[in-house]
């Protein structure tokens, strides 16, 4: 299994801040399955740029608030 991408996200907290939004509700609003949202939230899958923007749009925040690049963790950087 490949190592997880060097990206963290705050989807869990953002869902909590938005009235305990469920993964299914978020999935329905961005046109994905709940399983895909769970995989993104657990950092097992990096979404496409379009999906990332859709998630940020649902929470009404900039994309950088949802996803953070951990470049310093990458070897050789």
């Amino acid at each position: 299994m490949p190592p997880p991408p060097p990206i963290t996200n705050t989807i869990r907290r953002l869902r909590f801040d938005h009235g305990e939004m469920t993964q299914q509700e978020l999935a329905d609003r961005i046109g994905m399955t709940r399983q895909t949202v769970a995989a993104i939230e657990q950092n097992k899958y990096s979404p496409s740029l379009e999906a990332a923007f859709r998630i940020a749009e649902v929470f009404g925040v900039e994309i950088g608030v949802v996803f953070q690049w951990k470049a310093a963790d990458q070897p050789g950087r």
Partner: protein, 154 residues
């Protein structure tokens, strides 16, 4: 479990049971040196029909129980999973077909030695069933890889 993973499970189990039975019966006929092309053709059609009859309602029941659509459009992760599984399945199928072609020399030798009454017919029956076997195996492999990928991301 998504609808697509559920369909993959149904497909794998049904294929292993139904086509497992079919190919086991072909192997037994081959071992007994009693290959009957007509009987095998109708047996295959029956197995294929039974597989469809099982898979369709099972998928519909799965969709109903899960409260999902029968054939929802895939999202991006599902497309990635399917593309990977299809790529591996296709590569395996290509290699297996080349293997069947290479085996054809050995198969025609067996046909000449053990099916002297109709070696050409026996060769055709064996080759067709080998091609069916590698195609079904590649399809099952593709579904198994799909399930593994879904489990990894779950």
């Amino acid at each position: 479990m998504t609808m697509r993973e559920r369909v993959a499970w149904i497909s794998v189990v049904t294929s292993l049971v139904i086509f497992g039975y079919y190919f086991a019966s072909v192997w037994m006929d081959f071992s007994a040196r009693t290959l009957d092309g007509d009987a095998l053709f109708w047996r295959f059609l029956k197995c294929f029909g039974v597989a469809v009859i099982i898979m369709l309602p099972a998928s519909m029941v799965g969709a109903y129980l899960g409260g999902e659509k029968f054939d929802p459009p895939p999202d991006e992760l599902e497309r990635v999973i399917e593309a990977r599984a299809n790529r591996v399945g296709l590569a395996v199928l290509e290699v297996a077909i080349v293997g069947v072609v290479l085996l054809s020399v050995w198969i025609s030798d067996i046909a000449r030695a053990d099916f002297a009454a109709d070696p050409a017919g026996a060769t055709a029956i064996m080759l067709v069933n080998l091609l069916l076997f590698v195609t079904a195996s590649a399809a099952v492999l593709r579904e198994v890889l799909t399930i593994i990928a879904y489990r990894r991301f779950a």
